[in-house]
Every structure is written in structure tokens, then in C-alpha cells.
């Protein structure tokens, strides 16, 4: 016998307290009920024959006391919820992980995998044992608890409404660690995974996930994975002609048959190109569509079977990309004229280049607003926030003080770029810089916060840094004293510099991957941003951390990010081959343990005794009532 309700100590306390009360009430002199009679003397004729308190009457009182104590013991015992020790069954602590990754949007089974998963979860909840408790969680790129750990089947079924697959992969390792944490310290732990089983091995930075005695159950669902998807989609503007762009996409087939597909490219919602693709089973096709135009902000790629049918996973049949904003930058070139520089600047039609002599430059800098000022030799103070390109600067306004003497190339040789920081936006696509020859340079001493983007044995060649709130790039040599203008890298370097100054990041991402954390730059001073699906839907308020709005992308599509006065268009794509490969896996193995199928809770016969105790108490009450009513015990 064991008690699952109140503890034994509590039961004994209750029994002692109420039992003492009952006994005291019986020990106390009975307060008799007053019954007025019109003529007591007539009663004397009867009462004289019978004393008021006979032995039988006392016995009846003791019998009544014993009945009361028995009733009390039965009721207190019922409060303890006693169970027969052999009949009680241990309850399980279960975490039910519902796969909410993109592959659960597959339609290979009637109603879709998500509906089947919801039905399976509902069945598991209904099959819980009387002592089982379960926590429901959705597993995708992150883990979302849909319910607390509870044995309330109704609440669990209600929380199933919160389950909805997302356009992300499944972080199985993270989900398992979450489940382990939720079950820590509990007995009879179980993790039940309901999904297609297409997960990466559960391993993360902490190593492989260990089950540590937790039982693993797996309910596989899904029938097949006949799918074709867009696994990569990107677009970029040409650096020298930002009105045009090229598109790169990758289409992959996981189908077991030859697929004939129509790939449609839409520019700002309007179809601009349709390409027919034929993919053998397991084939991958990469396409670069060069020299495209017509889109100002967004591109969309759609994949469809030529026969009009649908593959098993529509989620990866569309991909989106956005184009960087085009803006004309105002450039002021100060100097006596540099044809190499002017030629390089002419390559970018979005640069509004104006020239000024050293004498007229101060006036123009005061009266006009420029994005970048280029100083060829001479220098002037630059307004705050304006970028500046210095070509071997001289004078007091030089950002970094030069040494008075030049460093010359060794006889019979030349100075060149011995080191280049190719990862810096300024130095992208400038691999042939190493072939440049420079006659002489002036040595500048960079500060610790500066970046030396290129250097020779004689000293830094390209220094990038910030001054007066604006960026600057310093070339320590005169391009006319080098063969750099003859290299492709020269105009690229100049255009890169202009882009770097004007914020046109060569690292611009045309799309984000769902499941990852998106960090979107926002204007300074903005504390939060709002993300809204472009095709309508609820807006999401995003925090801004270190100048970037942060959100974990869970949906594919186009989004508008409103941050202060600016509105930015974003694209999110699934781009996850592991999800596109949606063929189910019938087994699941973790920590060397192969998961078994979920087992229903052992409901069995509820050997609860409290009901019988209450019934017995009611029976005694009934007996007491009968004896009282028939005046047997009164």
C-alpha cells in the first residue's frame, strides 16, 4: 500500500486532529436538546420506571463514537489516495519532438506530412498513461516548446494547434539537448521524435549528443522524396554597370526519374525568362544567367514540372533575391587632373564626378555636398562624414603624416604589392595587383586603428581608416609613377573605393538562408525595426543589436524591413539540400541506439482505493442514518 495523495505524515496529522476533536466532543457532557412539554408530571409516571442513562444508552454512545472515528479514518484515508503497491505504475516523463522543418511540408502523403504528424502526436497524447507527463515541442532550426510538461491530455491536444512547419532545416542536436535538459532529474525519461527522420547526425560544438539513459522513440512518416528544388539562387550587379546584373542558380533533383522542368525568372514580379531544364535522377544543374536587366529590387525563380504536376516538396520550388539599391554618388576630384583616375571613374555611370582645382575646392566643399573627395597630391580638410581618397597626399591635411623622404625601388627592380588583404571590400577582384610595379612611394605611418590593405617591402601602399567621421583610403604612391593603370585592378580598386565610401557593399547578400540568424544593417540611432512579409502577413518587431536588426529567418519569401526612415527589401530562401532531400528515413539512431516505436502508456486498471473508501464511508453513513431514523442508536 502506498499513498499518492497526501503524505502519510499529513494523513496522520489530520486523523489525529479530527479524531481528537471527535473524542473530545464525545467526552464532553452531551448538550441535550430542550423539548418543552405541557405537563411534565404526566411524564413522571413513565420516567420513574426507566433511568435516563442506562448501560445500553452508554454503549450506544460508544458505538456512535466508534462509527464516527471509522468514518473519519475512511475519509482521511481516501484523501491519501492509497494504491495497492503492486498495482501502481511508474509514470513516464516524455518530450515529444515534432519535426517542424521544411521537409514536413512535403505532400507525398495525403493531407501532407504536417497533418499526419499532428495526428500521430494526438494519438500519442491520448495513449499516455495515467501517471505519464509530456512536453510538446516543435523542432526546426530552433526548438519551440508548445506546452509545459503536463499530464493534461486536453491541454496537450490544444497546444498541438501551435505546430506548424517552417522553411528551415531541423537542428536535431539542439532539439535533443533541449529534451535532455527538460527531462533532467526525472525518472523514466523518453524522447519521442515524430518526423521524416532526415536529420544530420546529432553533433554540435559540445560533441555528439548522448542519450544518458533516456529512451528514444521514433515515429517515422513520409512515403517518398520525389523532389526537385532550387538549392542556390543569387544575383549581383556588375560593378561597372550597376544597371545590369547576373543571376546564378542551382537546381537539384532528388527524384528517381528524369524530370523536365520549366525555370521561370521574374523581375519585380514580371516574367523575364523561361528556361526548360531536364534533370536526370540525382542530377544538379548550375546556371549563370549573365547580363540580365529589368529588375530594380527583386528577382524570383520558379520551378515547375513541364507537365504541370507538382513534386513532393513545393517549399523549395521558389527562390528569391534582391538587388542592391542603385544611387548616384557625387565625387569631387581635387587636383590638376589625372587621366588615369578620370578614366577609372568614368567606368561607373552612377558616379557623378566633378573636378576642382586646389584653389576652388574649399569653396565648393563648403557650398556643396559630396559623397567622396579625391585628392591627387594636395590635401584639404574634408567635411565630416565625407569619404576621401588620397593619392600620395601632401600637406597638413594629410590623414597620416608622411616621412619626408621617398622610398625608391631598388635598382633594376620595382616596388610592388607584396601583401594584399583580399578579404577587404576595397581589395576584391584585384588579384593582379601583385603584378604592379611602382617606382617610388612615400612612407606613411598607419595608426593602430588603420588597416593596411596592401604593402610592399618599403612600406604600406594602401591604408584604409576613418577620420572625422568619414572613411579614407590612402595610396602612398602616385599612380603615374607605376604601371598600375595598365592593370585591370586599377579601375576596380577605384570603383571599390567609391563603393566602400558610398556604402555599396560588395558583400551585399542578395538573399538570406532560412534557419540562420539574419543581421540586417539599419541606420544609426534606430532601436528597433519591423519585418513584414512582402505578400502580406503579420509584422514582426526586431531588436537592433550593434547597428543591425536581428532575426532568425523561418520563412522563405520577400520581406520589407522598416527601420527608421529606411525601408529595405530582403529575400529569404530555404537553400538547404538536406531539407530538399525529403525522402523519409525509417530509422533513427542516436548515440548508437536505434530508436524504437512509441509505446502507449500503461493505463491498465486504475487500482485506486479512495473511491472504495468513500463508498464504504457512504455505506456507514447510510447505516447510521437508518439506525438513527429508526431510533436504534438514539
Amino acid at each position: 500500500m502506498e499513498f499518492l495523495g497526501l503524505a502519510q505524515s499529513q494523513l496522520l496529522t489530520l486523523l489525529a486532529a479530527f479524531g481528537a476533536g471527535v473524542v473530545v466532543l464525545y467526552i464532553l457532557k452531551l448538550r441535550r436538546r430542550r423539548v418543552p412539554v405541557p405537563f411534565a408530571r404526566l411524564w413522571a409516571r413513565v420516567l420513574v420506571e426507566r433511568p435516563t442513562t442506562t448501560l445500553f444508552a452508554r454503549l450506544k454512545r460508544w458505538l456512535s463514537l466508534l462509527l464516527q472515528l471509522l468514518l473519519l479514518a475512511l475519509l482521511v484515508g481516501a484523501l491519501g489516495d492509497p494504491r495497492l503497491r503492486g498495482a501502481s505504475r511508474p509514470g513516464r516523463s516524455v518530450v515529444l519532438l515534432l519535426d517542424g522543418s521544411a521537409s514536413m511540408k512535403a505532400t507525398d502523403v495525403p493531407g501532407g506530412r504536417a497533418r499526419i504528424a499532428r495526428d500521430i502526436a494526438r494519438r500519442i497524447v491520448r495513449e499516455l498513461g495515467p501517471n505519464d507527463r509530456l512536453l510538446l515541442a516543435q523542432m526546426d532550426a530552433e526548438v519551440t516548446a508548445l506546452s509545459p510538461m503536463t499530464d493534461d491530455a486536453g491541454a496537450l491536444e490544444q497546444s498541438l494547434a501551435g505546430y506548424e512547419p517552417r522553411d528551415t532545416g531541423a537542428d536535431f542536436a539542439h532539439a535533443l539537448r533541449f529534451a535532455q535538459d527538460a527531462l533532467r532529474g526525472m525518472d523514466h525519461r523518453e524522447i519521442i521524435v515524430v518526423g521524416d527522420g532526415a536529420y544530420d547526425p546529432p553533433q554540435d560544438a559540445l560533441g555528439a549528443v548522448r542519450l544518458e539513459g533516456t529512451a528514444l522513440r521514433f515515429e517515422a512518416l513520409g512515403r517518398r522524396g520525389r523532389n526537385v528544388g532550387i538549392t542556390a539562387f543569387a544575383v549581383r550587379r556588375y560593378p561597372l554597370d550597376k544597371s545590369r546584373y547576373e543571376v546564378m542558380l542551382e537546381v537539384r533533383s532528388w527524384s528517381d526519374r528524369r524530370e523536365v522542368l520549366d525555370l521561370t525568372l521574374l523581375a519585380d514580379g514580371a516574367p523575364v525568362e523561361v528556361t526548360r531544364l531536364q534533370l536526370d535522377p540525382g542530377a544538379t544543374v548550375q546556371r549563370v544567367l549573365p547580363d540580365q536587366s529589368g529588375a530594380n529590387e527583386a528577382l524570383e525563380a520558379r520551378l515547375a514540372r513541364a507537365d504541370g504536376s507538382h513534386d513532393d516538396l513545393p517549399a523549395d520550388d521558389r527562390a528569391y533575391a534582391t538587388l542592391p539599391e542603385r544611387r548616384r554618388a557625387r565625387i569631387l576630384a581635387v587636383g590638376e587632373g589625372n587621366r588615369y583616375l578620370e578614366a577609372a571613374l568614368l567606368l561607373d555611370e552612377y558616379l557623378d564626378v566633378q573636378e576642382a582645382s586646389l584653389a576652388e575646392a574649399p569653396q565648393r566643399l563648403r557650398s556643396e555636398r559630396f559623397d567622396v573627395v579625391i585628392f591627387d597630391g594636395a590635401t584639404l580638410p574634408v567635411p565630416s562624414g565625407v569619404g576621401a581618397l588620397y593619392l600620395r597626399p601632401e600637406g597638413e591635411a594629410s590623414p597620416r603624416e608622411p616621412e619626408p623622404a621617398f622610398a625608391f625601388a631598388p635598382r633594376g627592380g620595382a616596388l610592388g604589392f607584396s601583401q594584399v588583404q583580399q578579404r577587404h571590400p576595397m581589395m576584391r577582384w584585384t588579384r593582379d595587383l601583385e603584378g604592379a610595379h611602382i617606382g617610388r612611394i612615400r612612407r606613411y605611418h598607419p595608426r593602430p586603428e588603420d588597416q593596411v590593405l596592401g604593402s610592399s617591402e618599403a612600406g604600406p601602399l594602401v591604408i584604409a581608416g576613418e577620420r572625422s567621421g568619414g572613411r579614407f583610403v590612402l595610396l602612398s604612391f602616385d599612380v603615374r609613377e607605376s604601371d598600375l593603370p595598365l592593370l585591370v585592378s586599377w579601375p576596380v580598386l577605384v570603383i571599390n573605393a567609391m563603393d566602400w565610401f558610398t556604402g555599396e557593399d560588395a558583400n551585399y547578400l542578395s538573399s538570406f538562408r532560412t534557419g540562420e540568424v539574419w543581421r540586417i544593417p539599419v541606420p544609426a540611432g534606430v532601436e528597433h525595426a519591423t519585418l513584414t512579409p512582402a505578400n502580406g502577413g503579420p509584422a514582426l518587431t526586431l531588436p537592433v543589436v550593434e547597428g543591425r536588426a536581428v532575426v532568425r529567418g523561418t520563412r522563405a519569401g520577400l520581406f520589407r524591413l522598416r527601420a527608421g526612415p529606411d525601408t529595405t527589401l530582403l529575400a529569404g530562401n530555404l537553400s538547404d539540400p538536406s531539407e530538399s532531400q525529403c525522402a523519409p528515413r525509417p530509422t533513427l539512431t542516436v548515440d548508437g541506439v536505434r530508436a524504437t516505436r512509441p509505446t502507449p502508456g500503461r493505463a491498465g486498471v486504475r487500482r485506486e482505493l479512495w473511491g472504495y473508501l468513500v463508498l464504504l464511508a457512504l455505506g456507514i453513513l447510510f447505516l447510521e442514518w437508518i439506525t438513527w431514523h429508526r431510533r436504534v442508536t438514539v
Binding site: P38, F39, A40, R50, T52, A57
Partner: protein
């Protein structure tokens, strides 16, 4: 329209709930009844009873010896002429009857609810009305351990409303002592007549002493025993405290059904004792149960025992 209807049409003496001591139909039936008397009492007014005395009656009744002081006008000279004996002629004369209704107002009359005392008051009112209807003199007395209230003799049906007022003002209180009250009553009322005792007879000293006191003072007692059958069973069982409503005397008892049955038998025996006592003294005795039909009790039960004819 009867007298009562005329009066009620003008004045409503009864407070709410009390005006149904007698309804109109009941009073009309009572008008045809009169109180029967076993004896003929001398009255001061001519009434519907016959008494033999020398007076202004018409119908000759008898002779008696002449005593000094008798009126010479009633000497029967014819008899003197034949037998030389002075005899006075006696005539039967209709005279009124004095009826005294002695209403028990002790605490036991109020026990168990208002029905018992209410019933007693209605009985008293009915008796009084019957007497008034027959031109008898009716007086009411409320008593417990003593005579607490009095209503002087009244005559004529028009006085019934005074009787109603008197009865409405009666309240139950105090212990029962019929003998003391009877002595007081006899001392205060010189004119003999019928003394109708309306009581539950719960007299600790014994009601017999009270009845005898009435008899010894040459009144003709009649006993109307108001009983409530519920008093034979207090309804309670178990450990109780029996409390006498009049004396406050209490007694702890463990009451069982068997004990109640014995009490019921004792109660019945006590009533038999009362009946036996009254029969042995030729005192008309009738029991009036509060749960019984009041009209039948008044009209039929009283007639059966000779209270009304």
C-alpha cells in the same frame, strides 16, 4: 342581514387574522342553539328558562306552605276554604340563566403553537354566543393560577363583540391552579349558574379540586377538555431535556420509542381518569380536540352531551 353582518359592515374590530374566530355562517347556526341546563336557576329577568316561584307568572305550577312574609296576594283562598290550610300558589316563570365561561389561560394552553388556545377561545366564544342568543347572562373569566381577567355578565346578542374583544385580549401565561381560581370565581359571583371550564386540565394540584370547589359553591360545572393529540408524542427521540412549559421543571431523559408508547398509554389513562371523575360527579364532560372540525364539535358534540339542545 344578521346582527353580526350589520356590525361588521360598520366596524371591523378584528385585527388582521383574528376576525375569523366566527364566520358568519357559523354564527347563524349558533343562533338556533341554546344552552340546556339541568337545573332551573332563579333569574332577575324573564328569560326562556322556567323557575317555580311566587311571582308574575301565568301558568300555575304548585302550592307550598305559607311563611310569614309571603305576599298575601298569592294565598290560595279556595284551598283555605276547603282545608283551612294557608298555601301559597306558585307559578312557573321564564327566567334567564347565568353562564360563566372559565377560560384556561395558563402556559400549557399556548404549548405546541397557537392552535390549542385559539381553539379554546373559539369554543368559549361559541358557548357565550349560544347563551346570549337565549337571553342568558354570560360572563367570561380568564384564569391560570388565579383569575386574571373578567368580563361582567352580559345579556343579549349585541354583547357578543365585547366577548370577542375580551377573548382576543386573552394571553397564555403562568401555571395552572383551577382550585384557587374557582374559589376566587365563586367568591366574586353570588349568582349561581352554569360554570363551563374550558381547559386542558394540566393542573399540577389536580383539576378535581377545582371542579369540586365549583360544585361545592352550588354552581353547575361543565368541563370542556381541550386536547391536542400531538401532546401524546413530543416527536423527539434520544438524549433530550424535558422542560415543563409552565413550571420550567426539567428532566434529562433518553427517550425511546417504547418510552413514548408508554407515555401515550399514560396520557390515555389520564384522560380516562378525568372522564371517570366527571361521570361519578355527574359533571358533563366533553373533549375537544384541536385537530377536529370545530363546527361539528360545537353543534354536534355539545348536543350529544346535553350542553346544547
Amino acid at each position: 342581514m344578521g346582527l353580526l353582518e350589520m356590525f361588521r359592515a360598520r366596524v371591523s374590530l378584528a385585527p388582521p387574522g383574528e376576525d375569523d374566530l366566527f364566520d358568519d355562517d357559523f354564527q347563524r347556526r349558533l343562533e338556533y342553539l341554546s344552552v340546556a341546563s339541568r337545573r332551573l336557576f332563579a333569574g332577575r329577568l324573564r328569560a326562556e328558562r322556567k323557575t317555580r316561584r311566587s311571582g308574575s307568572g301565568i301558568e300555575f305550577a304548585d302550592h307550598r306552605e305559607y311563611h310569614p312574609g309571603d305576599d298575601f296576594r298569592y294565598l290560595d283562598w279556595n284551598v283555605y276554604g276547603r282545608s283551612e290550610r294557608l298555601l301559597v300558589k306558585l307559578f312557573e316563570e321564564e327566567e334567564d340563566l347565568a353562564i360563566y365561561v372559565l377560560l384556561d389561560c395558563s402556559g400549557s394552553m399556548g404549548h405546541g403553537g397557537p392552535e390549542k388556545f385559539r381553539h379554546a377561545r373559539r369554543l368559549a366564544a361559541a358557548l357565550a354566543y349560544v347563551g346570549l342568543s337565549n337571553l342568558d347572562r354570560v360572563a367570561l373569566l380568564a384564569w391560570s393560577s388565579r383569575v386574571t381577567r373578567r368580563m361582567p355578565p352580559a345579556r343579549g346578542k349585541g354583547r357578543i363583540f365585547k366577548i370577542f374583544e375580551f377573548l382576543r385580549g386573552a394571553e397564555t401565561d403562568g401555571e395552572t391552579a383551577l382550585a384557587d381560581a374557582a374559589r376566587t370565581f365563586a367568591a366574586e359571583n353570588k349568582r349561581r349558574g352554569v360554570a363551563i371550564v374550558v381547559s386542558d386540565l394540566y393542573d399540577p394540584a389536580g383539576f378535581e379540586r377545582g371542579i369540586n370547589a365549583i360544585r361545592y359553591q352550588r354552581f353547575e360545572p361543565m368541563v370542556v377538555h381541550v386536547t391536542d393529540p400531538r401532546e401524546a408524542d413530543p416527536g423527539a427521540r434520544g438524549d433530550i431535556l424535558l422542560v415543563d412549559v409552565e413550571s420550567g421543571e426539567s428532566r434529562e431523559v433518553t427517550l425511546t420509542s417504547a418510552m413514548v408508547a408508554r407515555y401515550r398509554e399514560a396520557h390515555a389513562r389520564w384522560r380516562d381518569e378525568i372522564d371517570g371523575f366527571c361521570k361519578s360527579r355527574q359533571v358533563p364532560y366533553v373533549t375537544a380536540e384541536v385537530t377536529g372540525p370545530f363546527e361539528d364539535q360545537v353543534l354536534n358534540l355539545f348536543r350529544r352531551v346535553g350542553l346544547v339542545r
